[in-house]
């Protein structure tokens, strides 16, 4: 059920912090560009800033309201993200619809039937095999099944994880807000420091644009993100757990960049979508979060269990 976000004492502190981040980011971009307003208004950076000013507050509002509002936002990401992956991997439409359907079902299972959450990947695989069995089209079916599975694990399943963690853990909402904001900051800081410092390439054969300077930015962004939202850090998290969280967020962001890079290169396709202005699409905006979220969740659980 949707809730009044103002009833949650965490809402306003988080909302104002996110808004302040957006304003500071916008000011930094304007100052660094030093262009006339008319030229700047037509630039990619302006489109990105505009996009952030829409999705930032929208995200905070949706997760604090919860219920079907948050579900709608998650549905939008699953539907658009899966569709973009389908185009990147040239997946047949019948598999594509199943991927989207599987993604939606995953969200529902994560929210309403958590006991069956572990069955999702295998259940999806079984459902996928039904496509060639029932249609009788087996030419290229193994490639279609494999690529659709990659799409499921890369896009749909992590979105289900987000819903799962938010509903299963008492600090799920805090974790979601902290990780999402920190991943976003990590990406932005990587872009800024990577452009400023340049330096040696991290994995030139996988992603020729990623540098060690950018990776350092990932770490700085993750640390600033967690520090900025310290108000949302639950008291049961130890300092060691928070430190590990920062490291895993930075590591996950770098990993996601490299994964996104090799996936696009493997399929020799770059899908340009206009869903999020200034970005290549929904997938390129959320891919870091999709990899980082489950990774950092299990890292945190492990540290809390081992260290306390």
């Amino acid at each position: 059920m949707p809730r009044n976000p103002l009833a949650n004492p965490l809402f306003l502190p988080v909302f104002w912090r996110v808004l302040l981040l957006l304003v500071v980011g916008l000011a930094a971009v304007v100052l660094s560009q030093r262009r006339s307003l008319e030229v700047w208004r037509r630039s990619t950076l302006f489109l990105r800033a505009r996009t952030w000013f829409v999705i930032g507050p929208l995200f905070v509002l949706a997760v604090f309201i919860g219920g079907f509002v948050a579900f709608l936002l998650a549905t939008f990401v699953v539907v658009q993200g899966c569709s973009e992956f389908v185009r990147i991997a040239a997946i047949d439409r019948r598999y594509a619809y199943l991927l989207i359907l599987g993604g939606e079902l995953g969200l529902l299972v994560a929210a309403l039937a958590r006991d069956f959450f572990g069955f999702l990947p295998f259940g999806f695989f079984i459902a996928l095999t039904l496509v060639p069995i029932l249609s009788g089209r087996i030419t290229d079916a193994h490639r279609q099944v494999a690529d659709t599975l990659v799409g499921y694990v890369f896009v749909a399943l992590p979105m289900a994880y987000i819903v799962f963690v938010k509903s299963a853990e008492p600090w799920g909402l805090n974790f979601l807000v902290i990780v999402t904001v920190s991943v976003a900051l990590s990406d932005i800081a990587a872009y800024a420091t990577g452009s400023a410092l340049r330096g040696r390439k991290l994995m030139p054969r996988v992603d020729p644009t990623k540098t060690w300077g950018g990776a350092l930015g990932n770490l700085i962004g993750a640390a600033v993100g967690v520090g900025w939202l310290w108000v949302a850090v639950p008291p049961e998290w130890s300092i060691a757990a928070v430190v590990v969280l920062v490291l895993v967020i930075a590591f996950g962001s770098v990993w996601a960049d490299l994964t996104g890079g090799f996936i696009q290169r493997a399929f020799r396709t770059e899908v340009r979508s206009t869903v999020l202005l200034g970005y290549g699409g929904v997938l390129s905006r959320v891919d870091s979060l999709l990899i980082t979220f489950p990774l950092s969740y299990y890292a945190l659980i492990l540290v809390l269990k081992v260290v306390g």
């Binding site: 630039s43 569709s83 340009r272």
Partner: protein, 240 residues
């Protein structure tokens, strides 16, 4: 028969007979328009923004329109008309009809009624003698202040050239401007032959109004060039 004669024949003479082509005039009555507004604002536009989030470029060109106009667009998908309606905005949409293939959308009464009510379509006979009646009917509507959205390629997936002249007869004879639109991305969302959309982003480019002039062929050429120009702008914008 010369073009002017063809056009005069299309005007149907003083009797202005409707013939066998139904006009579905109830769909343009105030109650039906109210229902249509509700459907479009309450369901169609939000649904489109979810399935095919669209970005509109060149909307300021619509500010130059002072009366009815003929909107021409490339045709790729069944989503073209709804996305165009959503992109043009409420001010234009309120008095806009969509010329829809009579043999497809009006093949059954239920389908025709649904399209007329939800999208404001009117049946347009694409070939044969009744096509002149359809054209005349559209001219009557333009005379009453209605704008017309038409896909002059005739069928889906034919690109932004090879326009048929029907829209030019309409614009020249009624002396209303032609506004070129270019829709990009809908061939990925729902191409010809598919019946379930695969979501994705869409860009709608709106070009500056083109004066009708007095030459049908010239207007067809200028409209094709206008749509091609908007296409260049849209593709350039997507590359940023």
């Amino acid at each position: 028969m010369s073009e002017r004669e063809q056009s005069q024949a299309a005007q149907g003479g003083p009797s202005r007979r409707r013939g066998p082509v139904p006009t579905w005039s109830w769909a343009r009555t105030p109650p039906a328009r109210l229902v249509r507004s509700g459907i479009q604002y309450g369901a169609l536009v939000p649904l489109l923004k979810f399935i095919a989030p669209f970005t509109v470029i060149g909307k300021r060109n619509l500010g130059k329109l002072k009366g009815p106009a003929v909107f021409v667009a490339n045709h790729q998908s069944h989503f073209d008309a709804p996305v165009s309606l959503a992109a043009l905005g409420g001010r234009i949409r309120r008095r806009l009809v969509v010329a829809a293939a009579a043999d497809y959308f009006y093949s059954s009464a239920v389908k025709g009624a649904a399209a007329s009510l939800a999208l404001g379509t009117v049946p347009f006979v694409r070939s044969g003698g009744s096509s002149r009646e359809s054209l005349q009917f559209l001219k009557d509507l333009v005379g009453k202040g209605w704008s017309v959205l038409i896909f002059p390629s005739g069928t889906r997936g034919t690109g932004a050239s090879g326009f048929k002249k029907g829209f030019a007869y309409l614009a020249v004879d009624a002396q209303v401007p032609v506004v070129p639109l270019y829709l990009d991305g809908l061939d990925q969302v729902m191409p010809k032959g598919s019946f379930i959309p695969l979501p994705g982003g869409v860009v709608v480019g709106i070009g500056p109004p083109i004066a009708p002039g007095h030459d049908y062929n010239d207007l067809v050429r200028r409209a094709e060039a206008g749509v091609a120009e908007v296409r260049t702008v849209v593709k350039g914008w997507e590359g940023t």
